[in-house]
C-alpha cells in the first residue's frame, strides 16, 4: 500500500483548503462529533428548507483524513434532500469498510476509498458522516453529540 493511495491529491487539497469551513448562523441543526480515542472534534451546522440541505458548514480540528472527509461531504450533500444525503452516507460507509464496494458515481468522494486499507483511520473519515446522519435523523432541536466510541 502506497501512501499516495491514502493521501490522494484531492484529500491533500481539501485538508489544506477545507470547503464550507466556518460558522453558520442561524442554523436549523447543529451537531457535535467527537472521536475520544484520537481527539478529533467537529461541529456540523445545517440549514434545511423544503426537506433539503440548503446550506452546510463545519468547524473543528482533526487530521487530514477527517478534515478532507468533512470538506468533501459538505460539497457533496449541499442541495441534496434528506433521503439522498442518507443514501450517500450509506454508500460512503460501505466504501470505507467493504473491499467489494464500488466507487462509481461517487465523484470526488471516491478518493476516500484508500482509507479502508488503514483500519485505524476509518473512524477519521467516518466521523463527519455519522454526525451528518445524526443531524438528519433527529426530530427535535436538541441533538446529542455523536461519539465514535
Amino acid at each position: 500500500m502506497e501512501l499516495n493511495e491514502l493521501y490522494r491529491d484531492v484529500i491533500l487539497d481539501h485538508n489544506r483548503h477545507p470547503r464550507n469551513f466556518g460558522p453558520l448562523d442561524p442554523a436549523d441543526a447543529s451537531v457535535e462529533g467527537f472521536n475520544p480515542m484520537c481527539g478529533d472534534r467537529l461541529t456540523l451546522r445545517l440549514r434545511i428548507s423544503d426537506d433539503s440541505i440548503s446550506d452546510i458548514r463545519f468547524e473543528g480540528q482533526g487530521c487530514a483524513i477527517s478534515t478532507a472527509s468533512a470538506s468533501l461531504m459538505t460539497e457533496a450533500v449541499k442541495g441534496k434532500s434528506r433521503a439522498e444525503a442518507m443514501q450517500l452516507f450509506e454508500r460512503v460507509h460501505r466504501l470505507l469498510t467493504d473491499d467489494a464496494a464500488v466507487s462509481e458515481e461517487l465523484g470526488k468522494l471516491a478518493a476516500l476509498s484508500g482509507v479502508r486499507e488503514y483500519p485505524a483511520r476509518v473512524k477519521c473519515a467516518s466521523l463527519c458522516w455519522h454526525t451528518l446522519s445524526s443531524a438528519l435523523q433527529a426530530s427535535g432541536s436538541h441533538i446529542a453529540p455523536v461519539s465514535t466510541e
Partner: protein
C-alpha cells in the same frame, strides 16, 4: 527478568541518554517542529508536534518508513489542554534502538512536512 538482570544497567542508561541527546538535536533542527517536555532528567523519549501536520497523519507516514511512534493525547488530555495542542507524536528509545533509526525518524518527518505542506 533473567534477561534484564544480565544487562549492564549503566550501559543501557548511557545508550538511551545518547539516543535521546541525538534525537533531540536532530529533531530540533526541523522547521516547525516543537518538542513538548524538556525536563533535564527525563526518560528516553521525545514528544513533539509539527506545524501543519496532524500527529495521526505523521504517525501513518512514519509507519510507512518502518518507524513506530505513538500518536494522540496519550490519555493526558489536561496536559494537552495546558499546551493548547490536540495531540502529539511520541518516539521512545530503548536499548535496542539505533542512531540510524533516529535518522529514519527525522527523514520521515521531513517527508510528512513535504506531503502536507
Amino acid at each position: 527478568m533473567e534477561f534484564f538482570k544480565r544487562l549492564d544497567r549503566d550501559a543501557v542508561h548511557a545508550h538511551e541518554s545518547a539516543l535521546l541527546d541525538y534525537a533531540t538535536r536532530q529533531l530540533a533542527g526541523i522547521p516547525g517542529l516543537q518538542i513538548v517536555g524538556t525536563a533535564p532528567e527525563k526518560a528516553g523519549l521525545v514528544s513533539f508536534t509539527v506545524a501543519g501536520v496532524h500527529p495521526h497523519d505523521l504517525g501513518t507516514v512514519l509507519d510507512e518508513h518502518g518507524v513506530a511512534v505513538r500518536t494522540g493525547h496519550h490519555c493526558a488530555m489536561p496536559v494537552m489542554d495546558y499546551f493548547k495542542i490536540p495531540a502529539t507524536a511520541r518516539a521512545s528509545f530503548s536499548l535496542y534502538n539505533t542512531f540510524e533509526e533516529i535518522d529514519r525518524l527525522a527523514a520521515g518527518i521531513e517527508e510528512a512536512r513535504k506531503l502536507f505542506g
